[in-house]
């Protein structure tokens, strides 16, 4: 990205008592793009995002959102930044969706039309019900609408699709794509790898409050020597002779009973070595597939849960 980033985080630290939630995180989220922040539960995603929103105070480090300090310049930033809190929190329990959105619209100069937004998010049926009686997924959608109502240039969406049914999730993905094409910068957190893969221009994986890896989905999955071959066979094969036959850098393991995976710099020669080993051992190698590492593989490795 040649333009200045929408969010610039440098050496961010946040502690809660003895827990260090964010531990020296440095990362940038590009403007005009969708950034997906991934990481295990408790990795510090919400904490980081809420510091960017001006809701929490960093212990140290420097955070700039649209070039401004989220705490000091909150009054300038708040109209420009849309926020969806985790689990769709943040509503008046007795208000209806339409009341809540109409009210938030009144706090902005040129808001979207609350009715249209309700229609767009498929909330027509539930618009007249007090928010505390809506289902979790319906509430999430209201919270998403609330993040957009003020026509922000940057939105932070904390797990926008958690707990949504598959149809609504697709619809939400479409909406996020529309946001991007209309020029809104999106920062979202998610636990869904396919969501990040489909939506994000930029993926940031954090683990234990630190940056693990970042890059576009293509960059992350295109590393040299990062091919993967998967094949099926009888469970509990003795893999030592295969390891001996393959180059030293190759890794072989049984990921599920009878499901094998070779991670290596894959070339036709290596594939031939593998298949001839299979022939020697009378293994059919069902479902043999040559591919790149998936984003999921990258995630599992980056967050230390690979084995």
């Amino acid at each position: 990205m040649n333009v200045s980033p929408a969010v610039d985080i440098d050496g961010l630290v946040k502690r809660y008592g003895h827990t260090t939630a964010v531990d020296g995180l440095s990362v940038r989220f590009p403007a005009g793009a969708v950034t997906a922040v991934l990481g295990p539960n408790g990795a510090g995603k919400t904490t980081t995002v809420e510091i960017c929103e001006g809701l929490r105070r960093a212990d140290s480090g420097r955070v700039r959102v649209l070039g401004r300090d989220p705490l000091r310049d909150g009054a300038v930033l708040r109209p420009r930044v849309g926020v969806m809190l985790q689990e769709g929190a943040g509503f008046y329990p007795g208000a209806r969706a339409i009341d809540m959105l109409t009210h938030l619209a009144r706090l902005h100069r040129t808001p979207l039309d609350a009715d249209q937004l309700i229609e767009r998010l498929g909330l027509r049926q539930s618009a007249g019900t007090p928010l505390r009686r809506l289902s979790g997924g319906q509430r999430q959608r209201v919270a998403l609408a609330a993040a957009l109502i003020g026509r922000p240039e940057l939105v932070f969406l904390d797990e926008p699709t958690a707990g949504l049914d598959p149809h609504v999730r697709r619809a939400t993905w479409d909406l996020i794509s529309e946001l991007r094409s209309d020029g809104v910068t999106v920062v979202l957190t998610t636990h869904l790898i396919d969501e990040a893969e489909q939506l994000a221009d930029h993926v940031v994986i954090i683990d234990a409050g630190r940056l693990a890896v970042e890059g576009s989905p293509q960059e992350l999955t295109a590393g040299v020597g990062d091919g993967v071959i998967t094949f099926g066979g009888p469970p509990r094969l003795d893999l030592s002779s295969l390891r001996a036959a393959l180059p030293e850098t190759a890794e072989v393991r049984e990921v599920t009973p009878g499901g094998y995976q070779v991670t290596a710099s894959v070339d036709p020669h290596l594939l031939a070595t593998l298949t001839s080993w299979c022939a020697t051992h009378d293994i059919l190698a069902e479902g043999l597939q040559v591919g790149r590492r998936s984003l999921e593989d990258i995630y599992l490795e980056a967050t230390g849960r690979a084995r």
């Binding site: 708040r78 420009r80 809190l85 509503f91 938030l104 706090l107 902005h108 100069r109 979207l112 240039e153």
Partner: protein, 252 residues
Amino acid sequence: MTYSPAPGAASLPRMLVAQAAFEIKLLLRNGEQLLLTAVIPVVLLALLSAVPAFDTAGHERVDFLVPGIIALSVMSTAFTSLAIATGYERRYGALKRLAVSPLPRWALLAAKAIMVSVVEALQIALVCGLGLALGWRPEGSPVSVVILVVIGTAAFAGLGLLMAGTLRAEATLAAANLVYLLLLVLGGVVIPFEQFPAAIRPVLESTPTGALADGLRSVLADGAGLPWRSCAVLIAWAVVGFAAAARWFRWE
């Protein structure tokens, strides 16, 4: 529909009016809150004016009751309603959500103050209207009444916000209702302090409700000037309540 960015806050007066109107609307729509703020005061005034349930310390029943019921109304809005509503707003993250909206925090507090004032004005109009229909003849200066109501409101609001900002929403609901009931009985609203044992009377008179009811009664029933003692008690509560709320209130 396009989402192309067009950010900007509404003007401050617009935001303030919108926020206050929104909160008033939600309050008036809430059945339980209306019971506390409108139904109970009106029913008590009508019933107890008609039936000689308690001795009224030498006053006409309605003259004795109206000041007490005004104090009750102020408590119901500035303390009970405010505490319960704010407690649930905090619990459901409404306060956190507003903190990331263009509305400044002071404007949120100002909107709540407007909400409380508007509802109290409606209540007092209702109670005074009913009182006049029942033959109430007020004495004293309206200015003294306004001063008492304003500092009484501050005393209750500080305590209500303290409760809402520190306890769980359910605990706030229970405690705020309990306090309302206790002070309805013990706070000089409908039962004169003279009917309680002398030993606990100073305690009752030092509660915000006791001080406000007593002060309003001395103005409206006895035609006295601004009652300094009541004012001092209410100001003390206001200072303590707001200082503690400022110190311990948690927004989420």
